[in-house]
Chain length 132, copies 2
């Protein structure tokens, strides 16, 4: 479902101490209910985190007027963020994890199942101190 586009830029390669895995998702043509309804969006992301084995610390979601949602799920492994643009049927989701490397991928898979976007891209960036 996701087209993986791992970052291979000189910037990413310069990181000798990768501490975090950061996946940037662009989800196009998502179900409108997930882009418009705060409770549905929050449930989808909290469930994605827990089903993937992450540990939810807190979630904060905010409804904008006239529409559009922002949300953060703080997890013990780092965070998931989302911003929706219902008028573009689009959501930007970030998954940032530290520790066990597979967990970011598992969260991505769970999100893919719940959002089922028509098209999307996934970009992975390893985060850590720069190689100076």
């Amino acid at each position: 479902m996701f087209r993986d586009e791992h970052n291979t830029s000189p910037v990413a390669q310069a990181h000798t101490h990768a501490l975090g895995t950061h996946i940037l998702l662009e989800l196009d043509h998502c179900p409108q209910a997930l882009l418009l309804e705060k409770e549905q969006l929050e449930s989808a992301l909290v469930e994605s985190a827990t089903q993937a084995g992450a540990h939810v610390v807190k979630s904060v979601f905010h409804q904008f007027s006239p529409h559009g949602l922002s949300g953060v799920v703080v997890i013990a492994e780092s965070h998931i963020t989302v911003h929706t643009w219902p008028e573009h049927s689009y959501a930007a989701i970030d998954i940032f994890t530290c520790g066990e490397p597979d967990i970011a991928q598992r969260i991505q898979d769970e999100i893919g199942r719940r959002f089922a976007p028509a098209t999307c891209s996934a970009k992975t960036i390893m985060r850590g101190p720069s190689n100076h």
Copy 2:
């Protein structure tokens, strides 16, 4: 202070509808107080947002054991996140904004003033529906 490394990969260039500006910061050799003390870190990021003209909706910060902090400042313009690794004197900060394009840069400038990292890199990625 920041070395800007704007993303010029084909992935970023394929976005014809940029809706959000996302700056990824890797801050090396930050002051330990900002990496270890939750209240100081939260104040630094909330003040960076407000001084830059952003509108803070809520902030959530979490202290890990034995050390390390995660935090999110939800702003009307989107979000700021931070994760610290005091043992590496390192912090990963993300600034995600929509609307007025200059605000992400102003937040970055405010963070740079407060964290004064010895070295860091900044990478800008435009977020939006993929060009399918």
